[in-house]
Protein backbone atom coordinates (compact mmCIF):
# COMPACT_ATOMS: atom_id res chain seq x y z
CA UNK A 1 0.00 0.00 0.00
CA UNK A 2 1.22 3.42 -0.90
CA UNK A 3 -0.69 5.16 1.85
CA UNK A 4 -1.21 4.13 5.44
CA UNK A 5 -4.76 3.66 6.70
CA UNK A 6 -4.79 7.00 8.44
CA UNK A 7 -3.64 8.92 5.38
CA UNK A 8 -6.22 7.16 3.25
CA UNK A 9 -8.88 8.15 5.72
CA UNK A 10 -7.66 11.76 5.56
CA UNK A 11 -7.75 11.76 1.78
CA UNK A 12 -10.96 9.86 1.01
CA UNK A 13 -13.15 10.52 4.06
CA UNK A 14 -14.10 14.05 3.00
CA UNK A 15 -15.43 12.87 -0.36
CA UNK A 16 -18.61 11.39 1.09
CA UNK A 17 -19.02 10.43 4.77
CA UNK A 18 -17.24 13.51 6.08
CA UNK A 19 -17.91 15.92 3.23
CA UNK A 20 -17.09 19.51 4.18
CA UNK A 21 -20.10 21.03 2.42
CA UNK A 22 -23.02 18.68 3.03
CA UNK A 23 -21.98 17.08 6.33
CA UNK A 24 -19.80 19.57 8.19
CA UNK A 25 -21.69 22.47 6.52
CA UNK A 26 -18.58 24.56 6.01
CA UNK A 27 -17.61 26.78 3.13
CA UNK A 28 -21.09 27.37 1.81
CA UNK A 29 -20.35 31.09 1.74
CA UNK A 30 -18.38 31.23 -1.45
CA UNK A 31 -19.49 27.87 -2.79
CA UNK A 32 -22.92 28.57 -4.14
CA UNK A 33 -22.47 31.85 -5.92
CA UNK A 34 -20.06 30.41 -8.47
CA UNK A 35 -22.17 27.42 -9.50
CA UNK A 36 -24.39 28.91 -12.23
CA UNK A 37 -21.91 27.58 -14.80
CA UNK A 38 -19.52 24.61 -14.75
CA UNK A 39 -16.37 26.45 -15.79
CA UNK A 40 -16.13 28.91 -12.86
CA UNK A 41 -17.18 26.15 -10.46
CA UNK A 42 -14.32 24.00 -11.76
CA UNK A 43 -11.75 26.78 -11.42
CA UNK A 44 -13.05 27.61 -7.95
CA UNK A 45 -12.76 23.95 -6.90
CA UNK A 46 -9.14 23.78 -8.05
CA UNK A 47 -8.26 27.09 -6.38
CA UNK A 48 -9.76 26.07 -3.06
CA UNK A 49 -8.07 22.66 -3.17
CA UNK A 50 -4.69 24.28 -3.80
CA UNK A 51 -5.15 26.86 -1.03
CA UNK A 52 -6.40 24.34 1.56
CA UNK A 53 -3.63 21.86 0.80
CA UNK A 54 -0.78 24.35 0.98
CA UNK A 55 -2.18 26.31 3.93
CA UNK A 56 -2.47 22.99 5.75
CA UNK A 57 1.16 22.13 5.01
CA UNK A 58 2.48 25.55 6.05
CA UNK A 59 0.49 25.69 9.27
CA UNK A 60 1.44 22.11 10.05
CA UNK A 61 5.14 22.95 9.68
CA UNK A 62 4.73 26.04 11.85
CA UNK A 63 2.41 24.47 14.39
CA UNK A 64 4.98 24.14 17.16
CA UNK A 65 6.23 27.71 16.84
CA UNK A 66 2.90 29.60 16.70
CA UNK A 67 1.90 31.08 20.08
CA UNK A 68 -1.60 29.91 20.88
CA UNK A 69 -3.07 33.34 21.52
CA UNK A 70 -2.36 34.76 18.07
CA UNK A 71 -2.89 31.64 15.99
CA UNK A 72 -6.02 32.94 14.23
CA UNK A 73 -4.16 35.97 12.92
CA UNK A 74 -1.21 33.84 11.79
CA UNK A 75 -3.57 31.47 10.00
CA UNK A 76 -5.39 34.35 8.33
CA UNK A 77 -2.13 35.86 7.10
CA UNK A 78 -0.87 32.56 5.66
CA UNK A 79 -4.20 31.96 3.93
CA UNK A 80 -4.45 35.52 2.64
CA UNK A 81 -0.96 35.31 1.15
CA UNK A 82 -1.83 32.04 -0.64
CA UNK A 83 -5.12 33.48 -1.92
CA UNK A 84 -3.31 36.52 -3.33
CA UNK A 85 -1.00 34.16 -5.25
CA UNK A 86 -3.99 32.21 -6.61
CA UNK A 87 -5.73 35.46 -7.53
CA UNK A 88 -2.73 36.75 -9.47
CA UNK A 89 -2.24 33.41 -11.26
CA UNK A 90 -5.90 33.33 -12.33
CA UNK A 91 -5.74 36.93 -13.54
CA UNK A 92 -2.67 36.04 -15.62
CA UNK A 93 -3.87 32.80 -17.22
CA UNK A 94 -7.70 32.65 -17.20
CA UNK A 95 -8.72 36.29 -17.10
CA UNK A 96 -12.34 35.73 -18.22
CA UNK A 97 -13.08 33.22 -15.48
CA UNK A 98 -11.30 35.42 -12.96
CA UNK A 99 -13.66 38.27 -13.94
CA UNK A 100 -16.69 35.99 -13.51
CA UNK A 101 -15.56 34.84 -10.08
CA UNK A 102 -15.01 38.51 -9.10
CA UNK A 103 -14.95 38.89 -5.32
CA UNK A 104 -15.39 35.20 -4.60
CA UNK A 105 -11.70 34.41 -5.09
CA UNK A 106 -10.90 36.90 -2.33
CA UNK A 107 -13.57 35.34 -0.20
CA UNK A 108 -11.66 32.04 -0.12
CA UNK A 109 -9.83 33.70 2.80
CA UNK A 110 -12.92 33.59 4.97
CA UNK A 111 -14.01 30.22 3.64
CA UNK A 112 -14.85 28.28 6.77
CA UNK A 113 -13.34 25.07 5.37
CA UNK A 114 -9.90 26.64 5.61
CA UNK A 115 -10.14 27.80 9.19
CA UNK A 116 -11.91 24.58 10.13
CA UNK A 117 -9.24 22.31 8.66
CA UNK A 118 -6.36 24.42 9.96
CA UNK A 119 -7.77 24.43 13.47
CA UNK A 120 -8.98 20.86 13.55
CA UNK A 121 -6.32 19.03 11.59
CA UNK A 122 -3.17 20.93 10.66
CA UNK A 123 -2.56 22.19 14.21
CA UNK A 124 -2.32 18.60 15.42
CA UNK A 125 -0.84 16.56 12.57
CA UNK A 126 2.31 16.30 10.47
CA UNK A 127 2.76 17.99 7.09
CA UNK A 128 2.15 14.92 4.87
CA UNK A 129 -1.14 13.95 6.51
CA UNK A 130 -2.17 17.59 6.55
CA UNK A 131 -1.48 17.84 2.84
CA UNK A 132 -3.64 14.78 2.13
CA UNK A 133 -6.37 16.10 4.40
CA UNK A 134 -6.29 19.41 2.56
CA UNK A 135 -6.47 17.77 -0.85
CA UNK A 136 -9.29 15.50 0.33
CA UNK A 137 -11.36 18.34 1.71
CA UNK A 138 -10.72 20.49 -1.34
CA UNK A 139 -11.89 17.66 -3.58
CA UNK A 140 -14.93 16.95 -1.43
CA UNK A 141 -15.85 20.62 -1.69
CA UNK A 142 -15.16 20.63 -5.44
CA UNK A 143 -17.26 17.51 -5.98
CA UNK A 144 -20.36 19.16 -4.53
CA UNK A 145 -19.66 22.38 -6.45
CA UNK A 146 -19.42 20.48 -9.72
CA UNK A 147 -22.59 18.44 -9.08
CA UNK A 148 -24.54 21.64 -8.38
CA UNK A 149 -23.06 23.45 -11.37
CA UNK A 150 -23.79 20.46 -13.63
CA UNK A 151 -27.51 20.54 -12.86
CA UNK A 152 -27.78 24.32 -12.89
CA UNK A 153 -26.01 24.76 -16.19
CA UNK A 154 -27.71 21.78 -17.87
CA UNK A 155 -31.24 22.74 -16.85
CA UNK A 156 -30.71 26.49 -16.81
CA UNK A 157 -28.82 27.10 -20.05
CA UNK A 158 -28.87 23.72 -21.80
CA UNK A 159 -25.08 23.75 -22.01
CA UNK A 160 -22.11 22.07 -20.29
CA UNK A 161 -18.78 23.93 -20.12
CA UNK A 162 -20.37 26.34 -22.60
CA UNK A 163 -21.12 23.68 -25.24
CA UNK A 164 -24.71 23.15 -26.31
CA UNK A 165 -25.82 19.76 -24.98
CA UNK A 166 -29.56 19.79 -25.37
CA UNK A 167 -30.25 19.35 -29.10
CA UNK A 168 -31.99 22.06 -31.10
CA UNK A 169 -34.71 19.58 -32.09
CA UNK A 170 -35.91 19.51 -28.49
CA UNK A 171 -36.26 23.30 -28.45
CA UNK A 172 -38.25 23.10 -31.69
CA UNK A 173 -40.65 20.77 -29.91
CA UNK A 174 -41.27 23.47 -27.33
CA UNK A 175 -38.66 22.68 -24.66
CA UNK A 176 -37.53 25.74 -22.75
CA UNK A 177 -34.55 26.44 -20.51
CA UNK A 178 -35.56 26.83 -16.89
CA UNK A 179 -34.48 30.38 -16.14
CA UNK A 180 -35.06 29.88 -12.43
CA UNK A 181 -32.07 27.51 -12.25
CA UNK A 182 -29.69 30.36 -13.05
CA UNK A 183 -30.96 32.50 -10.18
CA UNK A 184 -29.25 32.32 -6.76
CA UNK A 185 -32.06 30.70 -4.70
CA UNK A 186 -32.00 27.53 -6.81
CA UNK A 187 -28.42 26.80 -5.72
CA UNK A 188 -29.69 26.46 -2.16
CA UNK A 189 -32.55 24.21 -3.17
CA UNK A 190 -30.21 22.00 -5.22
CA UNK A 191 -27.90 21.63 -2.20
CA UNK A 192 -30.96 20.74 -0.11
CA UNK A 193 -31.82 18.00 -2.61
CA UNK A 194 -28.24 16.67 -2.66
CA UNK A 195 -28.32 16.43 1.14
CA UNK A 196 -31.68 14.68 0.90
CA UNK A 197 -30.41 12.03 -1.53
CA UNK A 198 -27.11 11.58 0.32
CA UNK A 199 -28.79 11.08 3.69
CA UNK A 200 -31.45 8.81 2.27
CA UNK A 201 -28.61 6.40 1.38
CA UNK A 202 -26.57 7.01 4.54
CA UNK A 203 -29.12 6.49 7.29
CA UNK A 204 -26.57 6.95 10.09
CA UNK A 205 -26.12 10.60 9.09
CA UNK A 206 -29.76 11.56 9.55
CA UNK A 207 -30.63 14.07 12.26
CA UNK A 208 -33.35 13.36 14.77
Amino acid sequence: MLLSKKSREALLGPLSKNNPVIIQVLGICSALAVTAKLEPAFVMAISVTAVVAFANVIISLLRNTIPNSIRIIVQLVVVAALVIIVDQVLKAYVYDVSKQLSVFIGLIITNCILMGRLEAFAMANGPWESFLDGVGNGLGYGLILIIIAFFRELLGSGTLFGYQVIPQALYDLGYQNNGLMILPPMALIVVGCIIWVHRAYNKDLQEK
Binding site: C29, S30, A33, A80, V103, M115, G192, I195, E207, K208
Partner: protein
Protein backbone atom coordinates in the same frame (compact mmCIF):
# COMPACT_ATOMS: atom_id res chain seq x y z
CA UNK B 1 -32.43 60.08 -3.10
CA UNK B 2 -29.65 58.06 -4.63
CA UNK B 3 -28.40 57.21 -1.17
CA UNK B 4 -31.84 56.07 -0.04
CA UNK B 5 -32.05 53.97 -3.16
CA UNK B 6 -28.70 52.37 -2.37
CA UNK B 7 -29.87 51.69 1.18
CA UNK B 8 -33.09 49.93 0.09
CA UNK B 9 -31.23 48.07 -2.62
CA UNK B 10 -28.56 46.74 -0.27
CA UNK B 11 -31.19 45.48 2.17
CA UNK B 12 -33.61 43.76 -0.16
CA UNK B 13 -32.20 43.25 -3.63
CA UNK B 14 -28.48 42.73 -3.08
CA UNK B 15 -29.19 40.87 0.13
CA UNK B 16 -25.97 39.30 1.45
CA UNK B 17 -27.57 35.92 2.09
CA UNK B 18 -30.12 35.50 -0.66
CA UNK B 19 -28.25 37.06 -3.56
CA UNK B 20 -24.60 36.34 -2.71
CA UNK B 21 -24.65 33.58 -0.07
CA UNK B 22 -22.23 35.51 2.13
CA UNK B 23 -21.97 34.63 5.80
CA UNK B 24 -23.80 31.36 5.24
CA UNK B 25 -21.71 29.40 7.74
CA UNK B 26 -22.75 31.36 10.79
CA UNK B 27 -26.19 31.86 9.26
CA UNK B 28 -26.75 28.10 9.26
CA UNK B 29 -25.00 27.40 12.55
CA UNK B 30 -26.54 30.12 14.72
CA UNK B 31 -30.14 30.18 13.48
CA UNK B 32 -31.65 27.63 15.85
CA UNK B 33 -33.42 30.26 17.97
CA UNK B 34 -34.47 33.85 17.46
CA UNK B 35 -32.69 35.33 20.46
CA UNK B 36 -29.14 34.35 19.51
CA UNK B 37 -29.87 35.09 15.86
CA UNK B 38 -30.89 38.59 16.92
CA UNK B 39 -27.61 39.08 18.81
CA UNK B 40 -25.47 37.91 15.91
CA UNK B 41 -27.45 40.00 13.42
CA UNK B 42 -26.91 43.14 15.46
CA UNK B 43 -23.20 42.37 15.86
CA UNK B 44 -22.74 41.88 12.11
CA UNK B 45 -24.57 45.12 11.29
CA UNK B 46 -22.42 46.92 13.83
CA UNK B 47 -19.12 45.60 12.47
CA UNK B 48 -20.10 46.18 8.84
CA UNK B 49 -21.05 49.78 9.64
CA UNK B 50 -17.65 50.44 11.15
CA UNK B 51 -15.32 48.44 8.91
CA UNK B 52 -16.72 49.54 5.55
CA UNK B 53 -15.86 53.26 5.84
CA UNK B 54 -12.41 52.41 7.22
CA UNK B 55 -11.72 50.04 4.35
CA UNK B 56 -13.09 52.64 1.94
CA UNK B 57 -10.56 55.20 3.13
CA UNK B 58 -7.79 52.60 2.99
CA UNK B 59 -8.75 51.67 -0.57
CA UNK B 60 -8.95 55.25 -1.81
CA UNK B 61 -6.01 56.82 -0.06
CA UNK B 62 -3.49 53.96 0.00
CA UNK B 63 -4.29 50.99 -2.21
CA UNK B 64 -5.82 52.19 -5.48
CA UNK B 65 -3.52 52.89 -8.40
CA UNK B 66 -2.45 56.52 -8.02
CA UNK B 67 -4.04 56.77 -4.58
CA UNK B 68 -0.75 57.65 -2.91
CA UNK B 69 -0.61 60.97 -4.77
CA UNK B 70 -1.24 62.91 -1.56
CA UNK B 71 2.27 61.94 -0.44
CA UNK B 72 3.84 63.70 -3.42
CA UNK B 73 3.82 63.39 -7.20
CA UNK B 74 6.55 60.77 -7.28
CA UNK B 75 4.17 58.32 -5.61
CA UNK B 76 1.43 58.77 -8.22
CA UNK B 77 2.43 55.72 -10.26
CA UNK B 78 2.24 53.21 -7.41
CA UNK B 79 -0.47 50.56 -7.50
CA UNK B 80 -0.82 48.55 -4.31
CA UNK B 81 -4.18 46.96 -5.11
CA UNK B 82 -2.76 43.42 -4.95
CA UNK B 83 -2.32 43.99 -1.21
CA UNK B 84 -6.00 44.77 -0.68
CA UNK B 85 -7.05 41.27 0.45
CA UNK B 86 -4.47 41.02 3.19
CA UNK B 87 -4.99 44.59 4.40
CA UNK B 88 -8.79 44.33 4.44
CA UNK B 89 -8.72 41.15 6.51
CA UNK B 90 -6.16 42.68 8.87
CA UNK B 91 -8.31 45.78 9.33
CA UNK B 92 -11.40 43.67 9.95
CA UNK B 93 -9.66 41.39 12.45
CA UNK B 94 -8.17 44.28 14.38
CA UNK B 95 -11.38 46.35 14.41
CA UNK B 96 -13.32 43.37 15.70
CA UNK B 97 -10.73 42.93 18.42
CA UNK B 98 -10.87 46.63 19.27
CA UNK B 99 -14.65 46.68 19.32
CA UNK B 100 -14.67 43.73 21.65
CA UNK B 101 -12.49 45.59 24.15
CA UNK B 102 -14.45 48.85 23.86
CA UNK B 103 -17.83 47.17 24.26
CA UNK B 104 -16.59 45.13 27.20
CA UNK B 105 -15.49 48.31 28.96
CA UNK B 106 -18.44 50.59 28.27
CA UNK B 107 -21.43 48.30 27.87
CA UNK B 108 -21.03 44.97 29.65
CA UNK B 109 -24.69 44.08 29.03
CA UNK B 110 -24.30 44.37 25.25
CA UNK B 111 -21.02 42.48 25.55
CA UNK B 112 -22.74 39.62 27.33
CA UNK B 113 -25.49 39.55 24.72
CA UNK B 114 -23.05 39.31 21.82
CA UNK B 115 -20.82 36.89 23.70
CA UNK B 116 -18.84 34.49 21.55
CA UNK B 117 -20.22 35.90 18.28
CA UNK B 118 -18.15 39.04 18.32
CA UNK B 119 -14.73 37.41 17.79
CA UNK B 120 -16.22 34.97 15.28
CA UNK B 121 -17.36 37.82 13.08
CA UNK B 122 -13.77 38.40 11.95
CA UNK B 123 -14.05 35.32 9.76
CA UNK B 124 -17.62 35.97 8.62
CA UNK B 125 -17.65 36.15 4.83
CA UNK B 126 -20.26 38.90 4.88
CA UNK B 127 -17.80 41.42 6.33
CA UNK B 128 -14.95 40.76 3.92
CA UNK B 129 -17.51 40.37 1.14
CA UNK B 130 -18.89 43.83 1.93
CA UNK B 131 -15.40 45.29 1.70
CA UNK B 132 -14.70 43.57 -1.62
CA UNK B 133 -18.03 44.64 -3.13
CA UNK B 134 -17.30 48.18 -1.96
CA UNK B 135 -13.98 48.00 -3.81
CA UNK B 136 -15.63 46.61 -6.93
CA UNK B 137 -18.48 49.12 -7.10
CA UNK B 138 -16.28 52.17 -6.56
CA UNK B 139 -18.65 54.20 -4.39
CA UNK B 140 -18.38 57.95 -4.77
CA UNK B 141 -18.01 58.91 -1.10
CA UNK B 142 -17.44 57.59 2.40
CA UNK B 143 -21.11 58.33 3.10
CA UNK B 144 -22.29 55.97 0.39
CA UNK B 145 -19.91 53.25 1.57
CA UNK B 146 -21.27 53.60 5.12
CA UNK B 147 -24.87 53.47 3.92
CA UNK B 148 -24.03 50.35 1.94
CA UNK B 149 -22.51 48.83 5.10
CA UNK B 150 -25.55 49.60 7.25
CA UNK B 151 -27.92 48.36 4.55
CA UNK B 152 -26.22 45.05 3.94
CA UNK B 153 -25.90 44.53 7.69
CA UNK B 154 -29.63 45.03 8.15
CA UNK B 155 -30.32 42.73 5.21
CA UNK B 156 -28.22 40.00 6.81
CA UNK B 157 -29.93 40.56 10.15
CA UNK B 158 -33.39 40.28 8.55
CA UNK B 159 -32.43 37.04 6.86
CA UNK B 160 -31.05 35.34 9.97
CA UNK B 161 -33.93 36.40 12.22
CA UNK B 162 -36.39 35.23 9.56
CA UNK B 163 -34.84 31.78 9.20
CA UNK B 164 -34.50 31.40 12.97
CA UNK B 165 -38.22 32.09 13.44
CA UNK B 166 -39.08 29.57 10.73
CA UNK B 167 -36.77 26.93 12.21
CA UNK B 168 -38.37 27.36 15.63
CA UNK B 169 -41.74 26.51 14.09
CA UNK B 170 -40.25 23.80 11.91
CA UNK B 171 -39.19 21.86 14.99
CA UNK B 172 -42.82 20.79 15.45
CA UNK B 173 -43.50 19.70 11.90
CA UNK B 174 -43.13 16.33 10.28
CA UNK B 175 -40.19 16.70 7.90
CA UNK B 176 -38.97 13.66 5.91
CA UNK B 177 -36.14 12.04 7.88
CA UNK B 178 -33.21 12.60 5.49
CA UNK B 179 -34.13 16.27 5.15
CA UNK B 180 -34.25 17.04 8.86
CA UNK B 181 -31.94 19.67 10.22
CA UNK B 182 -29.67 21.15 7.63
CA UNK B 183 -31.41 19.91 4.48
CA UNK B 184 -34.74 21.59 5.11
CA UNK B 185 -32.95 24.77 6.19
CA UNK B 186 -31.32 25.00 2.78
CA UNK B 187 -34.60 24.52 0.98
CA UNK B 188 -36.43 27.06 3.16
CA UNK B 189 -33.61 29.56 2.58
CA UNK B 190 -33.99 28.98 -1.16
CA UNK B 191 -37.73 29.66 -0.93
CA UNK B 192 -37.08 32.81 1.11
CA UNK B 193 -34.62 33.86 -1.57
CA UNK B 194 -37.29 33.45 -4.23
CA UNK B 195 -39.64 35.57 -2.11
CA UNK B 196 -36.98 38.28 -1.77
CA UNK B 197 -36.55 38.29 -5.53
CA UNK B 198 -39.95 39.91 -5.81
CA UNK B 199 -38.25 43.12 -4.65
CA UNK B 200 -36.17 43.08 -7.84
CA UNK B 201 -36.60 46.20 -9.89
CA UNK B 202 -37.83 48.43 -7.08
CA UNK B 203 -36.64 51.96 -7.73
CA UNK B 204 -37.33 55.01 -5.63
Amino acid sequence: METLNLFIKSIFIDNMIFAYFLGMCSYLAVSKNVKTAMGLGIAVTFVLTITLPVNYLLENYILKSGALQWLGTEFAGIDLSFLSLILFIAVIASIVQLLEMVIEKYSPSLYNQLGIFLPLIAVNCAILGGALFMQQREFASVGQATVYGVGSGIGWWLAIVGIAAIREKLAYSNVPKPLRGIGITFIVTGLMGIAFMSFLGIKL
